[in-house]
Amino acid sequence: MLTKRIIACLDVKDGRVVKGVRFQNHVDMGDILDLSQRYSDEGVDELVFYDITASSDGRVVDKSWVKQVARRINIPFCVAGGIRSIEDAKVILNNGADKISVNSPALERSEFISELAKIFGTQCIVVGIDSRRVDHDLQVYQYTGDATKTIRSKRKTVSWAQEVTRLGAGEIVVNCMNNDGVREGYDIEQLAAVRSAVSVPVIASGGAGDYSHFADLFHQTDIDGALAASVFHSGEITIPKLKAYLRSKLIEVRV
């Protein structure tokens, strides 16, 4: 049976892994290669590297570490952050990344998704969606790597998820901004709404603080995977314990 994926997200800034609360006040969490190896050894299913400064600064993610990570680890990983051209994507994929994730550039020009999918195949193309509850709507936010530049886009989350799927996204990561870093659980209702609206895999992000939050997510939705960062980096939740816990709750995971 296809297992639910547990994904560790390493937010990268200036070549180091960082984490902030609600996308602000970034704190250094460690070296990319050390953390990648640790997670791989512990049995994480996948890694995502987000260069959280790249999109808002108009610069491209520094790619030198992509090849080092690809050389070192033997699990899939995705690279995100400021990928604005076919050439940017090609360099990252040729350096050994399995997937690339686009977010703000896709909001600027949605055809970018179809251009990437046509050249590299939909399975390499992840679209990240930063979503926030505003009154009773789910709104997509843009340039979230820098709190001073973050803006509300004109898109609504569910319809944008459907549009990016139609354009060729092979996977969607929904980051629920209200929940990010506050560790009170995933936004089940929001994630279920996106999952039921699209045919491609959907990954949940934002809000994991306890082992039970992962079980709640997988029991209450058909979400394909759960992404978390700070609770893994701090060691408050360990991958082996999380997987044993999920198995005890009859959720299929890789061990």
Binding site: A70, R71, N95, F120, G121, T122, E171, V200, V255
Partner: protein, 196 residues
Amino acid sequence: MIAIIDSGGANIASVKFALERLGVGSVLTDDVNVIRSAEKVMLPGVGAAPIAMQRLASAGLIDCIRTLEQPVLGICLGMQLLFAHSDEGDTKLLGLFDANCKAFTPTSNRSVPHMGWNQLAFQQDHPLLAGVDNGAHVYFVHSYFAPVTSQTIAECSYGHDFTAIVGEKNFIGCQFHPERSGSVGARILQNFLEMP
């Protein structure tokens, strides 16, 4: 020397790196002579079947691959290319295995692509599976699949059963990515490298 056929798709580097981790050098090539004289040949591939076949055809590799006598390992799309036909772009493939690759149909609780870690169910003994547990998890990413045939060595299930490993004589294919399947994948690659 191991030849990795440059099928033009993305992330071919990860196959090369996986061999490096096993202490084995390889060359990425589309040169017929280099491929023919290699000890073993790998055919990776991601992306779409029609584009990959065009690329092999324009490099003059169709007959070359079909007539290789050393062990050949197709990975992901590279496995599907060993079959006869794909519904993806109604494409004629290399024809080493006689079956048609079809698309997965998404359902409410089954997304497509089939992406993530799923289990191998062994169908036949094969040197590729030495030291691998029946039921081991490996990493898949694909929207098309090859059906189970008499040459299926291991199958996997996603809505229905499909071929995860196929093999006959010197031609072997893995639908999953051994280079991204942790220690299980590394063992499978090691087993391939040790094949006579």
